[in-house]
């Protein structure tokens, strides 16, 4: 089986998922190369979120194969395992720990041992503390590090969540609609930040905002009805007649 798989970070082959007869994913296949930045577009119900659920272990596929780093079968692992392998996920709605401070949010996300015993006797080392400072600097929340995450604005929560993902040090980052509900200024900033992050790891961004995708300037995959409709540069994909009919034309 390994001969037919190209050198890949993430490899989905023929993945199908159905909920009560509705095919959320229909023989979906695509490959993400190490270090790649990829945007995924598609109309509502195209299966974008389900695809992320399958990759992160939240949903088990009915059929098909999902491999990480060529030979790690993700369909047999749970969410915590997959996160520890190095796949980070950002949700559509910013989900940060509201009753924790900004600092504690990052500390919890930091890529350290996650067992009950290890956390019970964890001591914040100088190195860890410097790393947290560095991440806070990157997401521009240093000034608010001691505040409860609940008190942040919507955009700041999105950034905090991105900071948490950085702390996780994933090899692959899945980002679901990162700029939903952001102001134009924040949207443009986020594009810069994501490009920066993608320098050191693979990032998959699901987004509706075409302007944002243009800012990112990356390879685009268009999903519709649970499978890949077109793939290529934004110009190429947006000129595809099927994409226009299914998505852009609406």
């Amino acid at each position: 089986m390994s001969e037919i798989k190209p050198k890949s970070l993430l490899y989905l082959d023929n993945v199908s998922v159905s909920f009560d007869g509705f095919k959320a994913l229909n023989a979906l296949s695509f490959v993400i190369a190490p270090g790649e930045l990829r945007a995924i577009i598609g109309p509502n119900g195209a299966g974008k979120t389900t695809m992320m659920d399958v990759i992160t272990g939240k949903t088990r596929p009915d059929e098909g194969a999902v491999f990480f780093e060529d030979n790690i079968d993700l369909t047999t692992r749970d969410e915590a395992d997959i996160a520890r392998l190095g796949i980070g996920r950002k949700f559509q709605k910013p989900t940060v720990f509201e009753s924790h401070t900004v600092w504690d949010n990052i500390e919890l996300a930091l890529n350290r041992k996650r067992g009950t015993f290890a956390t019970l006797f964890y001591n914040l080392s100088k190195g860890d503390s410097a790393r947290i400072e560095e991440i806070l600097e990157t997401v521009r929340l240093t000034a608010r590090k001691d505040e409860l995450a609940a008190n942040l604005s919507h955009g700041q929560k999105q950034w905090l969540e991105i900071g948490m993902l950085l702390a996780q040090e994933p090899k692959l980052l899945l980002v679901d609609e990162p700029v939903a509900g952001m102001t134009d200024a924040e949207t443009a900033d986020t594009a810069i930040l994501l490009r920066e992050i993608a320098k050191t790891r693979a990032v998959v961004v699901v987004e509706h905002d075409m302007g944002f995708i243009r800012d990112l300037g990356v390879r685009v995959t268009c999903l519709a009805e649970g499978s890949v409709l077109a793939e290529g540069s934004l110009e190429f994909v947006s000129n595809d007649p099927r994409v226009i009919e299914n998505y852009l034309g609406r």
């Binding site: 749970d78 940060v96 956390t119 964890y122 240093t142 000034a143 200024a185």
Partner: protein, 395 residues
């Protein structure tokens, strides 16, 4: 490692509370034993026992706060762990009666003679040793919580469903312990205790010692709980209470965290029960009643959920109120308790301690907002965030 773990637990409030408990553990017995009965400083023995009982309730409420306040598990069956610890202690105390029982049987407790049993059931073996009983006080509630939690948390049962099955668990135990053939004294439970560790259980010295032991147990439990919630482990707990799936995607296994906490909490409840039984002199299946577990929830809510100190205050105050009410106007106590719960939910949703903390916190943030340095930093941050945006918008 351990000392660093414990040291971290000591913030100002917790230190004060532990110091108060430690002081109470010595001063109250001293005022009872050493001061003459005519002095106004003398504390009568009945009061020592009564407050000793409140301390065990406080320990039970603290145990509940650990799972409810920090894990978000609303256990409506915590009195079951309390009762199991109590039964383990009760079994030891029954074995200490020896041949002084009504039937004078040197081997079998009275209720077994009454039921015409010829020999002691296997699960009563070992309870004539205090160390064995002490081990069981921790092991039985801990094991039940572990098995129950393992099944429930692995299947991701949460919220109200979890509350209902904890309630079912305590109810099932209530029915089981009512049965004579279970071998725990049925309806009457275990009573007529004589000695504890060779000393008369009714004696003034023993009463005072049990009070001191309860206060010290509570102080130690508070220290351990505080260390747990202030560690990174505790931060994960609060994280999974607020956004469980987020912790999963960060690589934590919430079920393991809940299981560890639930088991520790059940063991604390077991210790509370074991200290309660010798002070009230009886343990019977009534302690498993679902209403008891719900009362614990009320104490915790009144004092302040998720504050550790709140439940201690809540349990003491509510039970003090209960003692007064049930003596003066027994028929309205339940109404008063209900009204208290409604009033807490409406006017003090964070409980007594939680509301105090909120007030002091809002005062400090207001103070901080006034400092120019803070404003300055914020402005720089805003400008930084806007700069690239403006340049991009211009393109």
């Amino acid at each position: 490692m351990i000392s660093a773990f414990i040291l971290k637990s000591l913030d100002r409030n917790i230190s004060v509370c532990i110091a108060v408990l430690a002081a109470v553990a010595f001063i109250v017995p001293a005022l009872n034993l050493l001061v003459s009965t005519e002095s106004i400083f003398h504390i009568p023995t009945y009061a020592v026992s009564l407050f000793g009982k409140y301390l065990t309730y406080a320990l039970l409420a603290l145990a509940l706060d650990l799972v409810w306040g920090f894990c978000g598990i609303l256990s409506l069956g915590h009195a079951a762990f309390f009762a199991l610890g109590g039964y383990a202690m009760g079994m030891y105390l029954v074995r200490q009666i020896g041949s002084r029982g009504v039937y004078g049987n040197p081997l079998l407790p009275d209720f077994m003679v009454f039921l015409n049993w010829k020999e002691m059931p296997w699960y009563w073996y070992g309870f004539d040793h205090f160390w064995f009983a002490a081990l069981m006080i921790l092991a039985i509630p801990g094991l039940l919580a572990f098995v129950f939690g393992w099944l429930a948390f692995r299947s991701r049962v949460t919220g109200v469903y979890l509350s209902i099955i904890t309630q079912a668990m305590t109810y099932a135990l209530l029915l089981a312990f009512f049965r004579n053939e279970m071998g725990f004294g049925g309806n009457n439970g275990l009573t007529d205790f004589k000695d504890l560790l060779g000393f008369n259980i009714q004696s003034q010295g023993m009463r005072a010692s049990l009070f001191a032991a309860s206060a010290i147990a509570l102080a130690i439990a508070l220290l351990i709980s505080s260390a747990i919630v202030r560690s990174k482990f505790g931060k994960v707990l609060v994280g999974l209470r607020d956004a469980e799936s987020r912790t999963r995607f960060l690589g934590y296994r919430p079920e393991n965290y809940k299981l560890v906490t639930f088991t520790i909490s059940a063991m604390m409840a077991g210790i509370a029960g074991a200290l309660y039984v010798p002070q009230v002199g009886i343990i019977n299946p009534g302690e498993f009643a679902p209403a008891n577990s719900i009362e614990v929830v009320i104490w915790t809510a009144v004092g302040g959920r998720g504050t550790l100190i709140g439940p201690i205050i809540g349990a003491t105050l509510v039970n003090f109120g209960k003692s007064i009410f049930t003596a003066q106007f027994p028929e309205i106590w339940l109404f008063a308790l209900g009204a208290l719960f409604v009033a807490t939910t409406l006017f003090l949703p964070k409980g007594i301690v939680g509301s105090f903390r909120q007030m002091s916190r809002s005062r400090t943030t207001r103070k901080r907002a006034d400092t120019p340095e803070h404003l300055q930093v914020d402005k720089v941050g805003d400008k930084g965030a806007n700069l690239p945006a403006e340049s991009l918008a211009a393109e």
